[in-house]
Amino acid sequence: MVMDPPKPWNPNYGVVGSGDRRLAFSRQLSSSSTPRLARSDSSISMPPPLLPAGTTFRWLATRPMRRLVLLIALNVAYSATELAIGLFTGRVGLVSDAFHLTFGCGLLTFSLFAMAASRTKPDNVYTYGYKRLEVLAAFTNALFLLFLSFSLAVEALHAFMQDESEHKHYLIVSAVTNLLVNLLGVWFFRSYARVNIVYRKPEDMNYHSVCLHVLADSVRSAGLILASWFLSLGVENAEVLCLGIVSVAVFMLVLPLFKATGNILLQIAPGNVPPSAFTKCCRQISACEDVSEVCQGRFWELVPGHAVGSLAIRVKNGGHYQYVLEHVHGLYQDLGIQDLTVQTDEESDTI
């Protein structure tokens, strides 16, 4: 995409009315003192951290992290209150809701931890760095949401069999509060409130998973509120219907993220490069006059945006393999694969 000259900050860029609706982006701080960067796909960078980069402040380094800390704090406070009230008044519904929230908080904390830890430099043991943690956190979030959808389905089945429809007013209060807290979370991460996103950086996956998490929670609370409203209207089986719809909705929301993160963890070939490009590269390499055979081309994505590959090439005896190396590296860099290891073996005459 072409780099536009610096324009006044357009709040609708990338959301409504822009060309490619699937691009994920992160909002610039409108109040920051740094000059407004031109919008371009390759250099969407977070503003520099407002706090010094000491280890104690690592958890508050970027804006999404600060928002996430706020979200987690709210959730923890809310679930602790709910648990306390539930224990003292003996209401099981509140306790179960509090437990559910606690699990969610734990997951959001893991996401936050991944955001903080992924900035660490690669070391001896983790030679590729810690960016994979973000993908892992996204995967865990997606997995939890799948479990949630399954448990909602079980709850719907339970309601169907038990056929009890009591009005639990305290549950409605708790559902409304839950909905408000989660809607705040959705607002914080609103640029990721989409089902299918093109992931360009590792943080994209993490933010997307957090957004889907709070979105799913708010859908669930909304479903509960709707169900009790319908029940009060006298609609039969309202609870079953609402829970069923919520369960299916959460499942459909989460599935693309789950598949994308799972694929990266399974070391699938880089998604942004079509398979035909790889074959074309192979052909271009074999067409080189010094090369007799190309084999074992393996490519995988460490995190979205960072592809790694390894290749083995058989070179004719006495060929200029240094030139071949540079040529191959150049070819693959055009595809966007920076980390490449190429093994050149000379054909030995004794075979």
């Binding site: 043991v125 030679t127 093994q343 073996d345 030995s348």
Partner: protein
């Protein structure tokens, strides 16, 4: 030579490595057409056999579980007791965990595609991760149930029923733990029987330095795979090397070192235990966790039976045992995380490897060294090696690959040789 091959697949392996000097040096670097690295016929037959054995075990466990679960469901509906139905739900979770492990085992055997160039071995790891998440989820649910029991002041909870149901659950889980944990004896007899007999042959000749001091605590589950195939190759070398040792002087050091390190590996491996497949191990952990929880619930039930006023002890008990269960999963979770983060496997010392490479003559520098594992036991290495101007690139490549194979037993290696 053929007298030592007691099963058909091993005979096929010997026939494949017809020319040891050239194919060992060159064949390991190249792919022979379509069959590359992870899909050697050497490994796939052993892999497939081991996978079938694990799958058989899991299928038996699943069937047993389903039988017990139906018994409990029927009993629970007849007696109209929520406690029994809850225990049946826990058995259902066991079935789910086994199903995940079975699927992972089956999926790991899929052929590699251009999109998934390393094959599907990672699915094992992801399946184990999902399984462990299930364990954590269940621990949380049990703690929640204990709290609910505490809140229900109406005293509907009968200690005797709790005790009986959890005793039955414990009995079922112990049967399955024994079934799943039975791997040690089996694997031992199978793979290492061959290792033993070959090892004696080599020892009697006594012409190898033994690399016994390797930090090769190589307990990965494809271990007796390697033991089987390498043993045969070595044996072949041994016979042919007596003729070719004198003929091919240039290849002699490489051959001898190959034979050396192969035999050393067999002798080193004989002393190690076969390790469980990661999926069977995670299913085993699941069952173990369930039995620990059952013990906890039994103690709680006994206490409530004996003294119904001390309900809080039930909750404390459940909490303690849940924490114990979580501790059992930590080690496996750590292994899974390390593989998924593409970190250097524990058994390989990256600094030592890098220093060893740098100490080789002709090597100026080593950079971009990455060692990572596809799954527990399959390790890959990639690095860039800068050599001096006058060194022979091909010979350096052979030396480096040979060193890495010998010392660290990493067979999937990609080295980029650069000149200054």
């Amino acid at each position: 030579m053929d007298s030592h091959n007691s099963s058909p697949p091993q005979i096929a392996e010997v026939r494949m490595d017809i020319s040891p000097c050239t194919s060992v040096a060159a064949g390991n670097k190249f792919c022979r057409g379509a069959a590359c690295d992870f899909s050697d016929s050497n490994n796939t037959s052993k892999d497939a056999k081991e996978r079938m054995a694990s799958m058989r075990k899991l299928i038996i466990a699943v069937i047993l579980c389903i039988i017990f679960m139906t018994v409990e469901v029927v009993g629970g509906i007849k007696a109209n007791s929520l406690a029994i139905l809850t225990d049946a739900a826990h058995l259902l979770s066991d079935v789910a965990a086994f199903a995940i492990s079975l699927f992972s085992l089956w999926a790991a055997g899929w052929e590699a595609t251009p999109q998934q160039s390393y094959g599907f071995f990672r699915i094992e790891i992801l399946g184990a991760l999902v399984s462990i998440q299930l364990i954590w989820l269940l621990a949380g649910i049990l703690v929640y149930e204990a709290i609910v029991r505490l809140i229900n002041e109406s005293g509907e909870v009968q200690g005797s029923l709790m005790f009986a149901v959890s005793a039955f659950g414990l009995f079922v889980n112990i049967i399955m733990a024994v079934l799943l944990g039975h791997d040690h004896g089996h694997g031992h007899g199978h793979g290492h029987g061959h290792g033993h007999s070959h090892d004696h042959d080599h020892d009697s000749d006594g012409d190898h330095p033994h690399h016994e001091d390797q930090e090769h605590v190589h307990v990965h589950h494809h271990e007796h795979t390697h033991g089987g195939s390498i043993t045969v190759k070595t044996h072949h070398h041994h016979h042919s090397s007596t003729e070719q040792h004198h003929n091919a002087e240039a290849e002699e050091p490489l051959l001898k070192s190959e034979a050396d390190c192969d035999s050393a590996q067999t002798s080193a491996k004989v002393g190690k235990k076969a390790h469980r497949n990661i999926n069977v191990h995670s299913a085993y952990l699941h069952v173990l966790g369930d039995s620990i929880q059952s013990i906890g619930v039994m103690i709680g039930g006994a206490i409530i039976w004996y003294k119904p006023e001390w309900k809080i002890i039930d909750l404390i008990c459940t909490l303690i045992f849940s924490v114990i269960v979580l501790f059992t999963t930590i080690k496996m979770l750590r292994n899974i995380l390390e593989v998924l983060m593409e970190s250097t496997p524990r058994e390989i010392d990256a600094t030592r490897l890098e220093n060893g490479l740098r100490d080789m003559e002709g090597v100026i520098a080593v950079h971009e060294l990455h060692i990572w594992a596809i799954t527990v036991g399959k390790v890959l290495l990639a690095c860039h090696v800068t050599i001096t101007q006058d060194a022979d690139a091909d010979e350096m490549l052979d030396k480096v690959i040979g060193y890495i194979k010998c010392e660290y037993n990493i067979s999937h290696v990609t080295i980029q040789i650069e000149r200054e």
